[in-house]
């Protein structure tokens, strides 16, 4: 695989009037990476994509593609291809004309274009569909045509703006695999925008988690999931239970948190915050639903949580227990269904146990909205 062309954002600011859409973003995207910007809608991730594609000039800072400053270079002159959220296929052009539109612009002959279209149609597993109109294809097929159209321009960087959001769940999951495969086959840099953490985690080499114009954390999926650096990253990526409190004692890479409701609990300090959490400061501690196990009755200590069960549900692969949590939010626990018997605890107090490694604490901060 070729090394591919990297993209760097240096001190990137984008303002619309008084509104700051992107605040001082610094990102290095390696050539050939599948890189995702993950964040809720309105966090500025599409704005970043538009700055990379050239539809938007940064207010400050630089966009570099392959080390070259892109300032003043229009979208039609950049080595990027953008796949729009609604795909934006040309409805009046046949599929093969759609796919090879970039070649038509460069003045390629119809014969050449036809040949290239057929190659690309084979690649996206739609052979012989070139003479149809976009309206005659299904959603997933149109999706693949949009990818082929973008790839036909032979871009160094492919930009994807939530291209799967219009598809139904099954197709979406299928397309994740397919996109990842295509990326590995063509070996170019993919920059992917999404609010779906499942998409980001399954496809990406690296992920930038964004909140309100600020990049909170850049890391690979595992690190973001297991070792979030902010409260937002911890609460936005995957399901998480939050415990608010104060740092009572720091013991190397672990901290004892005096929680508001559940007594003193021990947690691992996330890597980015090691050495930076001070005793007496507000902190948040996160434990994932699947990280709990049921503890024997009467157990207590700094890695046990006791609370009243509000209700329970059976999800097939797991039993979910919803318990009284903080600030009106329920504490969720998932016990994997391995065929064991499971009694109903509704209304009772139960005690849960976790391993210190599975609890991570960060300085108190803003949580992701539900």
């Amino acid at each position: 695989m070729s090394a591919g062309v990297g993209v760097d954002l240096e001190n990137l600011w984008i303002r619309f009037g008084d509104f700051v859409a992107v605040r001082d973003a610094n990102v290095n995207i390696n050539g050939g990476d599948f890189f995702s910007f993950l964040g809720p809608s309105g966090c500025g991730k599409t704005t970043i994509l538009r700055a990379v594609s050239g539809f938007l000039e940064p207010s400050d800072g630089r966009v570099l593609i392959g080390g070259n400053n892109m300032k003043g270079i229009g979208p039609n002159k950049r080595p990027t291809a953008l796949i729009f959220q609604n795909l934006a296929l040309f409805p009046l052009m046949k599929i093969w004309e759609n796919i090879t539109f970039s070649m038509e612009i460069r003045g390629a002959s119809a014969k050449e274009r036809r040949k290239r279209a057929d190659e690309l149609l084979d690649m996206i597993a739609l052979p012989g569909q070139g003479d149809k109109l976009p309206s005659e294809l299904s959603g997933g097929q149109r999706q693949r045509v949009a990818i082929a159209r973008a790839l036909c321009a032979e871009p160094d960087v492919l930009l994807l703006d939530e291209p799967l959001s219009a598809l139904d769940l099954k197709l979406r999951q299928h397309m994740r695999t397919e996109l990842r495969e295509i990326q590995q086959r063509v070996g170019i840099t993919f920059i992917y925008i999404t609010h779906d953490q499942g998409e980001a985690l399954t496809m990406s080499d690296n992920i930038a988690v964004m909140k309100a114009g600020v990049i909170d954390q850049i890391a690979d999926g595992k690190t973001i999931y297991n070792d979030p650096s902010t409260a937002f990253a911890a609460s936005f990526v995957g399901e998480n239970n939050v415990f608010r409190g104060k740092v009572k004692r720091v013991m190397g890479n672990e901290a004892l948190i005096e929680t508001n409701r559940s007594g003193d609990l021990v947690a691992r300090i996330s890597s980015a915050n090691q050495g930076r959490m001070k005793e007496g400061e507000d902190a948040m501690m996160f434990i994932r639903p699947e990280a709990f196990t049921l503890a024997p009755e009467g157990a207590s200590g700094d890695h046990f949580v006791t609370a009243k069960v509000n209700h329970e549900e059976f999800e097939g692969n797991a039993f979910n227990i919803f318990m009284e949590g903080e600030g009106g939010k329920e504490l969720k626990v998932s016990i994997p269904n391995l065929g064991q018997s499971f009694e109903d605890h509704t209304g009772q107090n139960i005690t849960l146990e976790y391993e210190t490694n599975n609890a991570v604490c960060v300085p108190a901060g803003e949580l992701a909205a539900e």
Binding site: T80, L82, F84, Q85, N86, L92, F101, S102, R106, A153
Partner: protein
């Protein structure tokens, strides 16, 4: 009863359904088709004084059509050069007005459709307000602008561009301006309507793939706007070929519009059959021309209603 009629009646009830259907039929048959058929009938009859109508001399004849082509019998000319010249000049001029209007209105419509914000509403209002004034007054206003001692000439001579006033009226510039101006909205709005529904992302996608602006318009916007362009052109062409007030007021003394000939036949010569024949020729030619051009640009009749 065909299915669509049945559905129509079940949806609206028999009472209201019949009323609506009746009104529509009265409108199309009573007010459009029957009078036109009667004109068609007129055009094939000789011009007779009232007592002889229905008499032995009242037979179908091609006399009136022959007159347009060959002129009066024994007139000494092979063709009715005067009327034919007016006829073709009217058609060519109407085509020119249409093309000129299209060139002028497409950018305006594109701009209106693609920009957002309140100023667009003000723009649209500014385009509409002149149409509150009636056609004749508007035509006279243009006369004031284009006349020999008009605003434009005062400006041009005053600023030294011309030494003597330019005769905009005799050179038909006032007429073309008047006709063009009269139908601007009919060109802008159909195009605006279509382009407004064009997904902006398509323009950006084309741009992202490296297309220049002319290319984007040629391959993306214009093909999409074709139904709007063709309904705009059809309306402007038909109406300018059939215009009467503007040529009457703004035309130079030598520039007869074919509608003026028709008007003369009906009014000055009291020769209704002759006038009807001229009108029928104009109508049929215009329709054939529009159909031919639609065929040339591959526009379907159904697209025009869009």
């Amino acid at each position: 009863m065909p299915r669509f009629l049945k559905e129509f009646f079940t949806r609206n009830g028999v009472g209201i359904g019949s009323l609506m259907l009746g009104l529509v039929l009265f409108w199309t048959i009573g007010l459009i088709i029957l009078p036109q058929l009667s004109m068609l009938d007129f055009s094939f009859r000789p011009n007779l004084p009232p007592p002889e109508v229905g008499g032995p001399k009242d037979v179908y004849t091609l006399e009136n059509y022959k007159y347009l082509i060959f002129g009066p019998e024994g007139g000494g000319q092979a063709f009715n050069a005067v009327d034919l010249k007016v006829f073709f000049r009217t058609l060519v001029a109407a085509v020119c007005v249409t093309v000129f209007n299209l060139i002028l209105c497409y950018p305006i419509a594109y701009y209106l459709a693609q920009s957002k914000g309140n100023h667009i509403r003000i723009f649209a209002l500014m385009l509409i307000i002149p149409y509150w004034i009636n056609e004749i007054l508007r035509a006279f206003a243009l006369r004031i602008i284009f006349g020999e001692t008009g605003v434009l000439n005062t400006l041009l001579v005053g600023s030294g561009v011309f030494d003597t006033p330019f005769d905009f009226i005799r050179n038909d510039i006032a007429l073309y301006a008047g006709l063009g101006y009269a139908y601007i909205l009919l060109m802008i709005f159909p195009i605006y309507n279509v382009i407004e529904s064009l997904d902006r992302n398509q323009i950006e996608a084309a741009r992202d793939m490296g297309a220049s602006w002319p290319m984007i318009h040629r391959r993306v916007v214009i093909p999409y706007a074709k139904p709007g362009i063709s309904s705009g052109c059809t309306m402007v062409f038909m109406l300018s070929a059939g215009a009467l007030a503007a040529p009457q007021i703004l035309g130079g003394p030598s520039s007869l519009w074919f509608t003026q000939l028709i008007y003369q036949q009906f009014n000055d010569n009291s020769d209704w059959p002759q006038g009807a024949a001229y009108a029928v020729v104009l109508l049929v030619t215009c329709i054939l021309l529009v159909l031919a051009i639609m065929r040339l640009f591959k526009v379907n009749m159904g697209d025009i209603g869009k």
